[in-house]
Symmetry: C2
Subunit: 312 residues, 2 copies
């Protein structure tokens, strides 16, 4: 039923139903990513079934965006609890169908099993002559992110704890959780033009991503501002929350965290604007390994290597 | 810790730890398979942790064997119950290390999560100019299997129900469950020489594999013997079990079920013997779609499309 709903891949692939999947090999290197979604830890309150299946694919799209690789195909391994109805499974399949179209990928294979948790393991495949790796940042490079942080943490608080906010912040925050959308186009263009010296996906949160990125390059980061929008700051303050916690240590973020050599900043900014995106220039790369410091002149603290703890 | 135990891949791969895995592309087409092992349904009593992690990879090897494709690399997505100890995780990792060596594959990436069930999702990658598909059997072809069936069913009964048998049957049966070993070398050689007109992996059991294989080719099968060894038949009879049930409707079998054109049988048999393997010629392909018949002159019945029901 699943296959009927989300459809067979195009002719050049082997039809789903043989022992393996087969796809033509393009020039370059094979890029591949597996990401497992587990119901208990990865599905927030209020997320619909088609949004869950979409999210399982989006997690891989986010990594591909950070590396600058176009997704070509996915395989999906499902662990389905026995209490799911046929209608539920159909909803999951509908989510996969939408996702195929949204990201222009083929579903070429997978596996179905029974399990206690809902488990969706997505394996994504692409080809590329070159990717932007985590290592490559040099002292003096700028540290940037591709969007504001904090909305997903706010969205989770709204969904899980029924926090009240004004409508605009609410809509943006909730959408960032239920319909996360990685900056794929932006990542592809930056990689193609060699504009990032290093980059990483931010789904474990900004702080941990900064630590992982700087560690891979053997450098440190010094931030002088947080990537936030005014409306979020206002909401955070009026609810007596900490903006640092929300922005640095929240998770479920689908932005790219990257470094850009100083001399490339101008062309990077021009390109990003032309594409209709926004960059947040949040600091610079230093030669002090293992150190991620925030210092905006008035406030100075070490950014901790704290990751996102799942909402189980 | 996992990576430390099973090791980083060779230099030409991207080291595990970036957002994606990367591998060089060989000539041919990309062959890929995902298979999810779930503790509750796929792990029999008595199976040790390193055997469990090995089995999760073997399930993919079995499909690659049937298609005649050499495995090159795997990615592993893990769902680990929170009550697993570090020692347990180390044992799982040791199993992956052995498996890498046994099948000469690289582990190039994956994902780790917490889940209620133990879940190991293996994604296997290889390259091939040509695979043996499920479709391709022609009326008149011989139906063959690459080994005797029934030992895994017997092994499960020994492990789960403590069935008593003589030592030799016991050892062979239990080993077939705990250390299943697909006929990879045989599958590779048969595919290279174009000897199979169609083939399928048999892990869901002989009956269902015969039905799926014949259906994919739009043909029927007529069997005139069951692929069994005498010692198993003796044990089955002395325990008042049905040899048909054990051989046709059991599961956890890791043989190849295939068809061979009549005129290629001689060279196929010669090759198989030279490689130190054995073929069981169990019947022929007919032009009656949806029909898998057994008829050895004295006994005649329809082989049902009954699959293997997991031992949960």
């Amino acid at each position: 039923m699943m296959i009927k709903t989300f459809g067979q891949p195009k002719e050049r692939y082997l039809k789903i139903g043989d022992d393996v999947a087969r796809m033509p090999v393009w020039a370059g290197e094979l890029i591949i990513k597996m990401d497992m979604l587990v119901g208990k830890t990865d599905v927030p309150k209020g997320m619909r079934l088609w949004q869950i299946s979409r999210k399982s694919v989006v997690a891989c799209v986010s990594d591909f965006a950070a590396k600058g690789v176009k997704p070509k195909a996915v395989l999906l391994s499902l662990g389905l609890p026995s209490n799911l109805t046929l209608k539920d499974v159909h909803q999951l399949a509908l989510g996969f169908r939408r996702t195929k179209k949204e990201f222009n990928v083929e579903i070429i294979g997978g596996d179905t099993n029974e399990s206690d948790d809902l488990v969706i393991d997505c394996c994504m495949i692409g080809f590329s002559k070159k990717i932007t790796e985590r290592k490559g940042a040099k002292p003096g490079d700028r540290v940037i992110v591709t969007g504001p942080f904090g909305y997903p943490s706010m969205g989770l608080k709204i969904l899980q704890e029924d926090l009240k906010t004004d409508r605009e912040v609410r809509n943006r925050s909730v959408a960032s959780v239920l319909l996360p959308t990685p900056k794929l186009k932006l990542g592809l263009e930056m990689n193609k033009r060699n504009l990032f010296s290093s980059s990483i996906d931010s789904s474990d949160g900004l702080a941990i991503s900064l630590h992982q990125l700087s560690k891979a390059s053997g450098v440190g980061f010094e931030l002088n501002q947080l990537p936030v929008e005014d409306d979020l700051v206002k909401t955070v303050k009026s609810n007596d929350m900490s903006i640092q916690d929300i922005v640095l240590y929240g998770g479920e973020e689908y932005e790219i965290v990257a470094t850009i050599p100083e001399e490339k900043m101008k062309s990077a900014l021009r390109l990003v604007t032309a594409l209709g995106f926004k960059l947040f220039d949040i600091g610079r790369v230093t030669n002090k390994p293992d150190r991620v410091l925030f210092d905006d002149g008035s406030l100075r603290f070490n950014v901790e290597k704290k990751g996102w703890i799942h909402f189980s």
